[in-house]
Every structure is written in C-alpha cells, then in structure tokens.
Amino acid sequence: MDRRSFIKLTAVTGTSAALASCGVPENQLIRFVPDEDIVPGVAVWKPGVCPLCAAGCGLTVRVMDADADVARNGQLGVVRIAAAKKLEGAPNHPVNRGGLCARGQAAIQVTYHPDRITQPLKRAGERGDGRYEAISWDDALADVVSRLDGLEEAGNQRALAFLSRGGASHRAVLIEQFLARFGAPPPAVYELFGDEVLRRANATSFGREQLPTIDLANAMFVLSFGADFLGTWNSPVAQAAAYGVMRQGRPGIRGGFVQVESRMSQTGASADEWVPARPGTEGVLALGLAHVIMAAALRPASAAGRAGALVDGWSDGLRSYTPEQVEKITGVAAARVVRLARQFAEMRPSVAVVAGPPLAHTNGLFTAVAVNALNALVGSIEQPGGVFFTPQVDLAAALKMSGRAAGAPAPPFRLQREGADDPHIGDAQVLLVDGANPVFTAPRVWGVDQALAKVPYIVSFGSFLDEMAVLADLILPDHSFLEAWREAVPESGATVAVASVAPPVMRPLYQTRSTPDVLLEVGRRLRRPLNLPWQTFDQMLAAAFAALPSASPDADAWTDAQAKGAWSGPVPPGLGRAASLPAPPAARPIAFEEPRFDGDAGQFPFHFLPYPSSAFLDGSLAHLPWLQEMPDPLTSAMWSSWVEINPAAAERLGIGQGDVLEIASAHGSIRAAAVLTPGIAPDMVAMPVGQGHRTFTRYASGRGANPVEALAPMTEPATGALAWAATRVRVSRVGPPDGRLVLFAGGMREHVEEHR
C-alpha cells in the first residue's frame, strides 16, 4: 500500500460518520494531522480576546475536536479539527472577570458564519453588485503591491488612505507604522458611536484624552447622564460587574443610582429613579446640581479645580443655574434638582457619568465638561467610588517606534483632504479598509458612497460582504479572531494598565490571512520595502510585550501574557502615555449654548434618537443569528427594527402598537414599526441602529431600516463628531401592523390592568 492510498484509507475510515454529508468524498477527502493538543472528546480551554468592541474583554475558549468541511491547499474535504465550541469570560481577566456580554458570547458565530468570505476575491462586476471571482493570495498581494508601487513611483504616497475603526491596539500601531513609512497620512477613523466628545472633555477637564473607568463597585450614589454603561457603552461587562457589587455586593450597603435621559435605556431601566430631561440640557442639570451644592456650602467651588474653572460662571457659584432656572431649561422640577444635589453631595462617594445621547448634541462638549466639573466638585476624581483613568501603555514607545504624538486628539473623520497630512478617504487613489463601514453608519447626506465611488482602487480586509466591502475591488479576508493572534489594549475597565493577547485558538478554516501579516508582507514586497522590523504580527507582539515587566516571577511578560490571555500591572516608566496634558489654551470658559437641532420644530415636531442596539451596537453585529434572535431587553423585539414612541404621542397621532410609521427628517425618511413604550418623552422618537443593511450576509440583508440614513449632518463643533441626536423628524402612520415587527413577549404593558 502506498502512502497516498494509506492516507485515503485512514481518511475514509476516520471520517465515515461525516461521509453522508459530503458529495463524492472519495475524490475530496484529505486527512490532516490533527492538532497535537486535541484529544477526541476532551475539552481544552484556551485564552482569547473578544474582538467585537473596544472593551477588550478576555476570553477563555472551549476547544474540542469536530469534523469540519474545510479548504486546505485549494482542496475541500472533511477534516477532524480542533474547533472552538464556546466563548466564556476569562475568570482572571482584569476587565471582565469571568463575565461576558451577549455579544461576546455570540462572537463565535463570526468564525463559523456560513457567509464568511473564504478566500481572496477580485471584483468581477460593477462596484456594489457583489460579484466577485476567486483569486490566489499571490496574485492578490501582487496586485496590491503594484498599486502601491504605482503611487510611490508617481511620488503620490499621500494618495494612500486607510480607513479603520480606531482604538488603541498593536494592530493600530502596525497600521500607523505602515502608513508612516510609506509616506501616507495616518488612518482615517470612523466610529458612529465614538466617544470623541467625552475624550476631548476629559482631556480638557482632567488632561486625560481617554474614556473614564467608573469605580461603581465602591460608589454609594451613581448619577448617570445618558450613559448606557450596563448595555452598550465603554466596557459594559466591567461596568456591569461593578454595578452588581454596588447594588448587592457589600453587606448592608446598597448604592443608589439615578439616570438622566429622555429615552429610557437598558441602563436607565435599572435605575432607582429615572429623570427625563430635555434633550441637550443635561449639562444644565449638572450645573444646577453644582449650584445647589455650592450654594448650600456642601462643597466649595474651588474643590472642582481645573474642571470647574473651565465652566463659565463657576467661581461665582453658577448664579444663573438656580433650581428654578434649571427647571425652566431642563424640565426637571426645581425641588427634584435640590434633592438630587443633596443626594449627590451627601451619599459619598458619589460619581456622575456622562455618555451617549447627551454628548451627541451640538453642545455635547459643554455637557461633558459640566458633568466633569460636578464630579470634580464632590471630589470623585481618582478616588475610590469615583472616576479613574486606566493607565495606558504607549505602545509605539514600547516598540521603540516613533508614533503619533501620544495623547493627541484623534483627527475628525473627513471625506476630503484638508491639510496635507490629514486622514481622508475621498481623495485617495488607493484605499485600504479595515473594519469600518461608514457606508452604513454615516448619514446618507454625507455622501460616503459617492465619495468612495471616485476612489479608483479599494481593498477591504473584511470577512463579510457588507456595504463597505461590496464596494471593494479586492477583498483580502482576515482570519477570524479565533484563528489569528489577537490583542487589545483596553482603554478603560480596570484601574491598572491592561493588554490582552492570545495566540490562535484553532487553525484557520479557510484560505484567509491575518491582516497584520498581510500588511507586513506587502511592506516587504514593495519596490521600496518599508523595513518594518517584524516578519509576522506575533513577532511584533512579542517585542511589545517584552518591554513590559512580567507579572509572574516564573515567566517573562510575553510568555505569561500568552498563558493568561492578558498582561496587567503598573506601567513601566517611560512607557506611559502622558499622564496629563497641559491645560488647554486659555480659551473663553465653556458656557451653555442651546443645542441646535436640524429641522424646524413646527414641521418636525419630534426629536429623533438613534441609539446603539443592545444586540448589534452600530450594526456591525447584525449578521450573527444569536443576536438577531435575542429579545431586546426593553421591547423584546427580535429580527426587526422598530420606532419607540410614547403612548400619549401615539394616541394623538392615531398610532397603535406595530403600526408602520414613516420617520422623515429634512434629509431622508425611513419606515419601521411602532413600539409604544412609556420610557420615552412624548416629544421624542427613538430607534435602534443595527438593522437596515442593504447587504450583510443572509441574516441581516434587507432586514429592517437604518435610522442613520435619515440623520442630519450636525456635528459637535470642537471635535467634528457627528451629533447623532440632533435631528428632528416628523412621524406619520403609513399602515397597519404588517408583520415586520417580531416580538418575543406578548406586549409592552404587561401588568394586569384592573377592571371593575
């Protein structure tokens, strides 16, 4: 028996169970040597890093053997592989401590998604029609290299653009290094629900250009201005864990929690008290509380320090923010303002959090700065039960690279080039796209797709044909997060510096390649090589982690971090991102400005609030069936889009549960089913972002509507961030319930009504 037939025989006997599902297996079967650490039927747990949001939670991945149809060396076959079975939170990870949110649990479906792109694709039809043909990695990389060489020959390196979702990571450092060495501008970053305004405010108030870590676990009183910190904002698992401790983790002590927002979020639903304030006036309420605290001499104005000094009128005790005045502006009763202020000042340690809709107004920076000042007033900065800033490792410094000025504000997302070094996407000759999908998440009126249509050559590293990838001329699919080296550098969620890292959990299912490795290879193959000092991404990671002190006496930092899935500890000297920024130039103090809204209040009587959906965040997770079928916490909706409207407003307009509504702004209109909910102000309609994908796999395509399409191009002026809560709309009923709204629960108001 020769070797070939022996292999065939073992394959046939070994996988007989899988034969039935596999066409003509004799022609296809290949038997690979199983991964050496796999024992049939025995589970192995390996560390991983959750890729779905910036929180960077640590995973522990259950791996077992499974028979899979895979492609190897261009051949298809059934192979016994080591397959990830379940994701759980890594018990000792400093951010998530064993917990994992619904989205993280569902991340495994990214790897096993039936519509994943399995190999490099080259556009075969018109842009956007989704027709692609297979291409080999060699040819694909040669194509990219020749394009970049073309730019270099023409001396037009600045016409290379890179679009990503931002956030600190080694991958981002690699991209930045790639672009810098090539001579291109830094990557353009677009994130619909990005926190630029809050980062800018924190930089202004505290000198920290980053998201805060809220020490809920030690807080006695939490006052949240619109922050959905238990659902979608920042590091929800870490925050929910701390929330659990705040409520019931301390014997005899239960922290209080008040939420200020005009549409009840999942987080607001857990609050002891829900305070609807007029949209865009949350900062006034914060200053009103500060006024009461200072007027009652519970805390001196000086306690707020720099954060307070930034606020117009602070030193005079905020005389224009009396409770009566605040009631007029915010709609919150004066007595309630006084009571909240007293609670906030007396139930120490207390902490105020701000994020989400209050910052998505034209005066978002004012609101954030006002809340920061309130926090500072009660002494809750870097104190137990208050606001912390997770120390950040300067990754570029750890790699001995020169990078973007540490802590410099992220440039706003622009379609067109303004300064020579400004990131942009619209004026590029070659555009590389990693993760971002502004075609879906940017307002239609920005014209992202028209701008992209002018870019002659777009390369996507996406794993799915979403609205962005479908415009690409070349798709170089990345490995899934379980198949490649993954890392994350959480911006928040812990009080010590954290860097998550994990080696591949399983072998790639398909002919995909890790995007960092692809970038490194392209850099090597260029006519003028970029001379990046690493051959592969894991070499880069090894170098970065080697610069960190080991947390374990038995192993170096790199070995230890791989085994644990994370490194954490004090930042070694010289590697920290600037602890504080100099005070900003002495601009005039920040004062309340009426929020500006797009659309006339008479013609467009409703505020329109698109919000990140619990399941899909900004829509990038709409392709995961578990999340599609997970009932929304407040409406129990599955597989659908909906518009939340107050029952009183609905009655006025003759709208019933499930009726089809048209939501029209001055810039577009969308249709979705009505959900009547008491947790929203009568002059507001809200809609989750996430559905309405034109193309995004079989589970999300053509499902529901995308509220972002109707948004006005309003921005927060200081950061240029999209003010996504600043659009006004009119609402009209266009039809009866037509089945587009799928609810798991029977109805919205389920308490038994009394009939006598």
Partner: protein, 227 residues
C-alpha cells in the same frame, strides 16, 4: 444528595441578555429565523422578562430572568404520559427528549412557560454546526425542550470531583447563564447545603419564589429589587 437550585438577584440583573445567548451557545438551542420567530416559535430556555410600571415620566422597570424553576412539585411532570418529564434524585426536573412524544401537556401545565416545543427539526446553516456542544444532545422535531440547569456541567463537575476523591465545591458548578452573567445576578448551588452561596441567598429576606401559590415549590429564588 444535593438539591440544585438557583438564586437570581433582581437588584443585580440589568437585563443585558448575556445569559440568553450563553444558554443558546451551551445547550445547542437552534435559532428559528425571522419568519418562525414572528410565529412565536423562538426558543429561549432562559428569558429576561421586563415589566413596566407607571407612566411617563414616573416609569419603573423590573427585569426578571425566567428559566425552568426545577420545581420540587413540578406541575409538568405528572401530566407527562411517557415519563419524558420527571424528577431526578438531585431534584432536577429532567426532560428525556427520546421519550417525548410531543403532547406538549407539560408545556401547558408549566406556570412559567419555561418549556419550548420544536416545531421543526432544528437546523444550523453550515458551518455554524461546528459550534455545537457535543455534551448536549440535539433535539428533533416534535419534542419539548427546556432548561436543564446545564446538567452536563453538573455531571462533569461531579465526575471530576469523584476522580479527585472529593466532593463538589460550592461554586464549582456554574450553568452557562450564571457563568456568563456580568453582574453576577445568578448564583447556582446546592440548596441542601446551608453554607452554599445559593442556599444563603435563597434564605435572604429579599427572597421569594415565583408563583409559589401554584404549589409548585420552585427552586429558583428571586431576590427583590430594593428601594
């Protein structure tokens, strides 16, 4: 003999739904798709119920994770003609899929609506099936399925403990829902061990059982929200 039970702290639960997806991942619960979901066939062994109180602006919400309560006097058990639904010695309310002929009587008799019927053969779009947990049997069309308290994990931990010549430690067994819960609202353990965390929480003055007045003697204690 342990008596497995759970305590659910509604003051910690914030409705995030992590448990719901964790349950799907652990127990091979198939998604049914939008059309079937619209027809009321979605299967969620564990659901987070949400109750509104009051009208705008004085609105209050309570979340309540509801799963099989593994009642001591389970109404679903005596009505099953084939013993598919019965009680194990460890107090679990077991559902033997192979014995189930699909009368759905148990699902009707369950006051908590914790039982779900497979209207079609569960299927997974390849290769989503690679995720399936080999420790949990797949169901077929026409049977009733429900929360098992992750009996596969209970058995696994017991086998492990026995191999190591010791008893099962409190907290060693975590059903997928409790394991994933970010705010640690769900605590699983032996109710016959007065020292176990679940048992101590169940005796909390905040504790009560859901629909106790049906006489079902459920083993999931709910700790009320305060304030």
């Amino acid at each position: 003999m342990p008596r497995w039970g759970m305590a659910a702290d509604l003051d910690r639960c914030n409705g995030c739904g992590a448990c719901v997806v964790a349950c799907h991942a652990e127990n091979n619960i198939s998604t049914v798709g939008p059309e079937e979901a619209a027809r009321g066939r979605a299967k969620h062994w564990l659901r987070v119920e949400r109750y509104w109180e009051g009208d705008f602006p004085d609105v209050r919400v309570t979340f309540r994770p509801v799963l099989c309560q593994h009642c001591d006097n389970a109404p679903c058990e005596p009505v099953c003609p084939t013993y598919a639904s019965h009680h194990t010695e460890e107090g679990l309310n077991a559902q033997v899929y192979n014995r189930c002929i699909g009368t759905r009587y148990c699902a009707n008799a369950c006051p908590y609506n914790a039982r779900f019927f497979d209207f079609f053969n569960p299927s997974w779009d390849k290769p989503l099936h690679l995720q399936l947990n080999p420790d949990v049997s797949l169901r077929m069309v026409g049977v009733v399925e429900k929360c098992t308290f992750c009996v596969q994990r209970i058995n696994g931990a017991q086998v492990q403990a026995k191999a190591e010549g010791r008893g099962v430690r409190d907290g060693e067994i975590q059903p997928a829902c409790a394991q994933s819960c970010p705010s640690r609202a769900l605590v699983f353990g032996d109710l016959d061990d007065p020292e176990s965390q679940a048992s101590r929480l169940s005796r909390s003055p905040r504790g009560s059982h859901l629909l106790e007045d049906t006489g079902s003697r459920p083993k999931v204690a709910y700790l009320a929200r305060q304030a």
